[in-house]
Amino acid sequence: MAESTVRTPGRSELLAGGALVGAITLLALLAPVLAGDPTAQGDLRLDRFLAPSADHLLGTDRFGRDVWARLLHGARISLAVGVGAAALAATIGTAVGAVAGWRGGWVDALLMRMVDVVLAFPRIVLVVVVVALYEPSLPLLVLVLGATQWPTTARLVRSEILSLREREFIVAARALGIPEGRVVVRHLLPNAIPPVLVATALGVGYAVLLEAGLSFLGLGVPAPTPSWGGMIADGRAYLLDAWWLATAPGIALVLLVLGFNLLGDGLRARLDPRRVG
C-alpha cells in the first residue's frame, strides 16, 4: 500500500480547520438547545459579574446575562456575516474576473482600475464610511463586506482565464461553434474553482474579523443582539474585575478565524502541490 504512506499535502490543515469550523458551526446551530436566552437579564443586585461556574460556564456580564449563551448566539452572527460576505465576494469576483479576462481590451482595463480603487481603500475605513452614511443592519454588513472583498477573487479568476483562453481545448470549443458564454462557464471557469475556493475560505476569516471589529467600534449589528466584537468592547470597561468578559469572545474569534485560515491553507496545499510546505 505505497499510496497510503505518502502524506497527502494539506491533510493536517484541512482536518484541524474542518474540526474547528465544524465544532463552532455545530455549537452555533444548537445554541438555543445548549444555552439559555442571551438577552435575559439577571437580578441586577445578585447576578452581575459572576465568575465562571457550573451555573454560568463563562460567568455573567454587567446586566447579569449569561456569557456562554451570548457567545453561542454571537457565533451565529459571525458565521452568517462571514460566510454570506465571502459567498457574495466569490460571486462578484468570479463574474468580474471572467468578463475582464475573456473580453480583454478596454473592458478589462476599466474593470481592473475598479479593482485597484477598491483594493487601495483600507477596507475597514471604507466599511466605516459606508456604515456611517447608512443604517447598520445584518444585510448591509454582508453587502459591504462582500463588496469590499471581491477584487482578490476577480484578479485570480482573470489571470486563470488569461492563461487558458488561447489553449487548444478552448480554441477547439470555439471552433465547434459553442456559444461564448457556454465556453466561459463550462470550459474556462471550472479551472478557476481551486483558487476561488482558497480565496473564499480565507475571505470568511477576514470578514469575520471585520464584522467583529465593526461591532467592537459600536458600528455593527445593533444591541442587544449578541456579537463577539461588541462583547469584547463591553468587557474592556471591566478588565479589573471581570477579565473573562473580554477574554472569552476573543478566544472564540481566534479559533473561528484560525479554522477558516487552516481550511484555506490546506486547500491551497492540496490543490497546488508545487507550493512548498
Binding site: 487601495a120 464610511v129 477579565w243 473580554a246 474569534l253 510546505g277
Partner: protein, 329 residues
C-alpha cells in the same frame, strides 16, 4: 529603468484618487436622506439647509455636482468639519503625524521580525522548529488587533500593577502627566513608553503575513539550482543565504509592502481607539459617532491617498530592485 513604465505607474496616482473621489461621491449620493442634511449637524433649521444646498451647489444637476466635488478634492478642499468647527483639511493635518508615528515603526518592526522568522523557517522548511513557528505565526495571523490590544492592556497594565511587576505600561495617549516638566531624555523615554503597547499590537498582527510570505519564497529560492551551485562552490552557509537566497526571496516583500500598508492603516483604527491615540483612525470613529460626515469622508479620502502613494512607491522600488521587471517594462 524605462521611462514609459514609470510614467504609467505615476499616472496611477491621479487615476486612483479620481476613482476614490467618485466612489465617495456615489456613496454620499446613494445614502438615504438629503446630502445637505448629512453634511450638517442634526436639528438645523430648514433655511440653513437650503442655504447649504445652494452654497454647495446641491440644487444643481448631478453632473455639475460631481464635477464640483472632484474639483474641490483636487484642490485639497475637503469641506468643513461639523464637530471640530474648522476645515477638514486642517483637522487631518493635525492627526496625520500621530498616525504615521504609530504606523511607521510598526511596519518597520513587523518587516524586520517577519523577515527573520520567515527566513529561518524557509531554510529549515519541514523540520520541527519550522512547524512550531508555523503554528505560532498562524495563531498571531488569526488574532484581531482590537482583542490583542485589550489583552495587552489586561496583562501589562491591569495585572502588571496587581502582581507588582517592575514595568507597568501606560495604556492611553501619547505622553504622560507632567510631560512638560521632564528633561529631554525623560521626555523621549516617556514617549517611547506610550508607544510600546500600540506599536507591539500593530506589529504582532502583521508579522504573520510577512513571515508566511517569506517562508514560501525563501524555501523556493533555497531549492533553486543557482543556490545548489553556490553551495557546491563551497561558499559558507551564511553567504549562501544572504547573497543568493535572500536576494531573490526578498523581492515579494516589496509587493507585500503595498498590501500591508492598507492593513496597517486599517489596524490603526482599532489600535488608536483602544489606546486613545490621537490619530486619524480614532478620529474616524469619533466622527462617525458625532455624525460628522465631511470629516468621515475626508479621512476616508486622505488615508486612501496615503495608501496609493505607498503602493506606487513600492512598485517603483520593485522596478529598481528587480531587473526582470525593468527589462519588459
Amino acid at each position: 529603468m524605462s521611462g514609459r513604465g514609470i510614467a504609467l505607474l505615476l499616472l496611477r496616482l491621479p487615476v486612483t484618487v479620481f476613482g476614490v473621489g467618485t466612489l465617495l461621491f456615489l456613496l454620499l449620493q446613494l445614502a438615504p436622506g438629503d446630502p445637505a442634511r448629512l453634511l450638517l449637524a442634526p436639528g438645523i433649521s430648514e433655511e440653513v439647509v437650503a442655504q447649504v444646498r445652494a452654497n454647495y451647489g446641491l440644487d444643481r444637476p448631478i453632473a455639475e455636482q460631481y464635477l464640483r466635488w472632484i474639483g474641490a478634492l483636487a484642490r485639497g478642499d475637503l469641506g468643513w468639519s461639523i464637530s471640530a468647527g474648522r476645515p477638514v483639511a486642517s483637522v487631518i493635518a493635525e492627526l496625520l503625524p500621530s498616525t504615521l508615528l504609530l504606523v511607521a515603526p510598526s511596519l518597520l518592526l513587523a518587516f524586520l521580525v517577519g523577515t527573520a522568522i520567515g527566513t529561518w523557517q524557509g531554510i529549515r522548511a519541514g523540520r520541527a522548529d519550522d512547524g512550531i513557528l508555523n503554528g505560532v505565526t498562524l495563531f498571531f495571523h488569526a488574532i484581531p488587533s482590537y482583542w490583542l490590544a485589550v489583552m495587552l492592556v489586561l496583562l501589562f497594565a491591569v495585572q502588571a500593577d496587581r502582581w507588582g511587576w517592575p514595568i507597568v505600561l501606560p495604556v492611553s495617549g501619547t505622553r504622560g502627566v507632567g510631560y512638560e516638566d521632564l528633561g529631554f531624555l525623560q521626555q523621549f523615554a516617556d514617549r517611547v513608553r506610550h508607544l510600546l503597547l500600540p506599536v507591539a499590537t500593530l506589529t504582532l498582527v502583521m508579522v504573520g503575513a510577512i513571515s508566511r510570505q517569506l517562508r514560501t519564497s525563501v524555501a523556493e529560492a533555497a531549492a533553486a539550482d543557482y543556490v545548489r551551485a553556490a553551495r557546491a562552490r563551497g561558499l559558507s552557509e551564511a553567504r549562501v543565504v544572504l547573497r543568493h537566497v535572500l536576494r531573490t526571496a526578498l523581492l515579494p516583500l516589496i509587493t507585500l509592502a503595498g498590501i500591508l500598508l492598507p492593513l496597517a492603516v486599517g489596524g490603526a483604527v482599532f489600535v488608536e481607539t483602544v489606546f486613545a491615540w490621537p490619530g486619524m483612525g480614532r478620529a474616524l470613529v469619533t466622527a462617525v459617532g458625532a455624525r460628522d460626515a465631511p470629516l468621515v469622508l475626508g479621512i476616508g479620502f486622505v488615508t486612501t491617498v496615503v495608501v496609493v502613494i505607498g503602493n506606487v512607491a513600492a512598485d517603483l522600488a520593485l522596478r529598481w530592485a528587480d531587473p526582470r521587471i525593468r527589462a519588459d517594462g
